[in-house]
């Protein structure tokens, strides 16, 4: 504690804070960046498709065909668009006017009446495989509920041996926003933390002021704390702002406790800041530090953290790589904290991993800083 209160450290903190205030870009990184990104993300990123344009070709109008189309037009998932012929429909799909095409063949009603297998042809544009699969699922859903109603109305007994009764836990309406927003907080904090510190030591190296600082009586630890603390305060400010937005603007439920959230955020921010510091100390060059910050922060946090893509489905080698991405642990913690509650069996190991990574980055920074000076 004595070190924390020393006038030298207070002086350093004052100097760093002044430097932050002088170049408004640090404050912009901490407050404007998260708000802007969260707004964009929160409103822009959604995996729930509605009103998908789907082409429909009815080769031979009939009452059966119109009752099927009626079920289709009621669904919020589709925006039907009619084509006269199969050929025109396929051309529309090729021109990307529609995402999928439904063809009710000429003998549809006939076969249906005769209880023979009446196939409906469905073609989807498979370029975006995930959306295509969801579209298939929606079509299937509309089709099977229509079919059941139709068969009941016409009193045709059909065997339905097993019926699934699905219940979704934690996110009953399957709103993708509820799972994306906690992940976005992590991407946000990764950027903020690393960007805030990635340039600080590199800048002082380039300007020669670090050596000037070294000949003063301040210790290495004091320098590190002096650099870290002001940015930590800034970063936490950004985090609080982001959480408030998640809760009140995007209305993501919060089922865990706030003190766990605060504690884990602290750990993660220290890790992110530590990574930035390490980049800064290793490169000693603002230009290279900036380039590495671009490469090492955003894309890994975006793609390897489990925020969007399921880590369990990645090949084993890539799964190993995800372990060095700090965002991975924080994403797991946050998704559970927001949607499920304090699941200790999940929080404890992930928080431990964060402690490990933070001490690794900060410890290595301290060691390297000393070595570089000799």
């Amino acid at each position: 504690m004595a070190a924390l209160l020393s006038p030298r450290l207070l002086g350093l903190l004052r100097k760093e804070s002044l430097q932050i205030l002088r170049d408004p870009s640090s404050i912009a990184i901490a407050f404007v960046l998260p708000v802007l990104l969260l707004l964009l993300f929160g409103y822009g990123v959604s995996l729930d498709s509605k009103h998908v344009p789907v082409g429909i070709v009815v080769e031979q109008p009939s009452s059966e065909a119109s009752s099927f189309l009626g079920a289709f037009q009621q669904s919020v998932y589709f925006e039907p668009r009619f084509y006269g012929t199969r050929q025109a429909g396929r051309e529309g799909l090729r021109q990307r006017q529609v995402k999928g095409l439904l063809v009710l063949p000429a003998d549809f009603a006939q076969r249906l009446k005769a209880d023979r297998d009446a196939p409906i042809q469905v073609i989807v544009n498979g370029v975006d495989a995930n959306s295509a699969r969801l579209l298939e699922g929606y079509v299937q859903g509309v089709w099977s509920s229509w079919l059941q109603r139709e068969l009941q109305a016409r009193q045709i007994p059909v065997a339905r041996p097993v019926e699934p009764e699905t219940r979704i836990w934690f996110n009953a309406e399957l709103a993708s926003r509820n799972y994306l927003v906690p992940g976005l907080l992590v991407v946000n904090m990764t950027l903020v933390g690393a960007l805030l510190t990635a340039l600080v030591f590199a800048r002082e190296w380039e300007r020669g002021t670090l050596e000037a600082l070294m000949v003063t009586p301040v210790t290495l630890g004091e320098i590190l704390i002096g650099k870290l603390l002001p940015y930590f305060v800034l970063g936490m400010g950004g985090m609080v702002l982001s959480v408030l937005m998640a809760l009140f603007l995007f209305e993501v439920p919060m089922r865990g406790s706030f003190w766990v959230l605060a504690l884990c955020s602290t750990l993660f921010l220290l890790t992110a800041l530590g990574m930035g510091l390490l980049i800064s100390i290793v490169t000693r060059n603002q230009f290279v530090a900036g380039m590495i910050a671009i490469l090492a922060t955003f894309l890994p946090a975006f793609l390897l953290s489990g925020f969007l893509f399921d880590i369990g489905s990645m090949p084993a080698v890539v799964q190993v790589v995800t372990h060095i991405v700090a965002a991975r642990y924080f994403v797991t913690i946050l998704q559970s904290l927001f949607l499920a509650g304090d699941v200790w069996s999940l929080i404890l190991p992930n928080a431990a991993a964060l402690v490990l990574m933070a001490s690794f980055f900060l410890g290595l920074s301290r060691r390297l800083l000393r070595k570089r000076l000799e």
């Binding site: 960046l33 990123v45 498979g126 019926e163 699934p164 699905t166 390897l304 890539v318 999940l346």
Partner: protein
């Protein structure tokens, strides 16, 4: 004029490549990233850990579970004996879903009644949940069909015959790897250009450049050249890897592909130089690069479809060069599209390139500290 531009271009390349680390950073990490991300970026679930709580134990239940065991993407964590274990497994994410077979399941089935099967899914990742849900219902449909055939019952008289164009097995890797080509082109181009003018400004050498006989246009070309060359080269490398390593089919022509690449690289260089000349320090330039990069990726349709966004946000995506480039890449790769189909994507790119490059040239002279 040509000689002056050439001299400046050479100087820019030297500035970029004289440092061993920045040489390394420009070339190696993007390739590693493609390899890692190419495998990571996929919505396909090929490991669905599930648990079974069989309260029936009859032969029909065993038959149903055999269908799940036969599905390659489903992995049985363990059978459950007590109700409380369900929550425990799902909470700590040991299982994505739990299948609960009620008592009397076999009896119901044999007597011709519809038997319910309870499926509990972890919804924390709503996309995985949705995919798992449809996988489960596909397996149940398969079981129903088998059961109906075995017991000579009356089945559904209508069927859906589904086909997917351009990507018959609906592999989302094809979609993402072609998208990664765009992402990495953008990142590398931004890295090379966004910091370049800002660095010179911070060091004061940009003012020196301005008092030389070089005209702003010439400075612009000289500053843009490394970005254009490295961006195009990087894109070619990444395309090669996508085709030969990830085996994504390249069905379209190289002429269309390279027109798209060139237009996009020009637009990205324009944005990078504009950010760089607006910034007074490297930190501001870095912030600017991220403020462009992150929204550009999010709003491009790389991972989540633009059609799902609210109208106001969709309008915003119109100024995102990556949006057009991704459509070009995916169409050329998977659909084999030609110029006539991609013209609506190409002219906005050209427009963005023109506007940002002009703005950058203007800013060179007019933003002096």
């Amino acid at each position: 004029m040509l000689g002056r531009i050439l001299a400046l271009t050479v100087k820019e390349f030297l500035a970029l490549f004289k440092d061993k680390r920045s040489r390394f950073v420009v070339v190696i990490p993007p390739l590693i990233q493609l390899l890692v991300f190419g495998y990571a970026a996929s919505f396909d679930l090929n490991h669905i850990p599930y648990a079974v709580y069989d309260r029936d134990g009859g032969y029909a239940a065993r038959e149903l579970l055999a269908h799940f065991q036969g599905a390659p993407s489903f992995e049985l964590v363990r059978p459950i004996q007590r109700q409380e274990e369900i929550a425990e497994l799902i909470d700590r994410r040991a299982a994505l879903l739990v299948i609960q077979i009620p008592p009397r399941f076999t009896a119901d089935l044999v007597s011709g009644r519809t038997a319910p099967v309870q499926v509990l899914i972890d919804g924390r990742n709503s996309n995985s949940a949705q995919i798992a849900q449809s996988d489960v219902s596909r397996i149940l449909t398969g079981f129903n069909q088998d059961w109906i055939a075995q017991h000579q019952l009356q089945g559904m008289p209508v069927s859906l015959v589904t086909r997917a164009w351009y990507n018959p097995n609906l592999e989302s890797r094809w979609f993402f790897v072609s998208g990664l080509v765009g992402l990495l082109t953008l990142v590398v181009t931004m890295m090379v250009t966004a910091l370049s003018v800002a660095r010179e400004r911070e060091q004061g050498t940009f003012d020196q450049l301005l008092v030389t006989p070089l005209r702003p246009v010439e400075i612009l070309i000289g500053k843009a050249m490394p970005g254009i060359l490295i961006g195009t080269l990087e894109a070619s490398l990444v395309v090669t890897l996508a085709v030969f390593w990830f085996k994504v089919p390249l069905t379209g022509g190289l002429g269309v592909l390279y027109s798209g690449i060139l237009l996009f690289v020009l637009a990205a260089v324009g944005v990078g130089l504009m950010i760089s000349s607006l910034a007074a320090t490297l930190q501001q330039a870095l912030l600017g690069a991220f403020l462009f990069l992150v929204p550009a990726v999010i709003l491009s349709g790389f991972a989540t479809p633009i059609d799902n966004m609210p109208d106001a946000v969709q309008t915003l995506t119109l100024v995102d060069p990556l949006r057009y480039y991704l459509v070009i890449l995916r169409s050329v790769f998977l659909e084999g599209a030609g110029f006539e189909l991609l013209l609506p994507q190409m002219w906005p790119l050209a427009l963005i390139a023109l506007a940002t490059l002009a703005a950058a040239a203007w800013l060179f002279r007019h933003r002096m500290s």
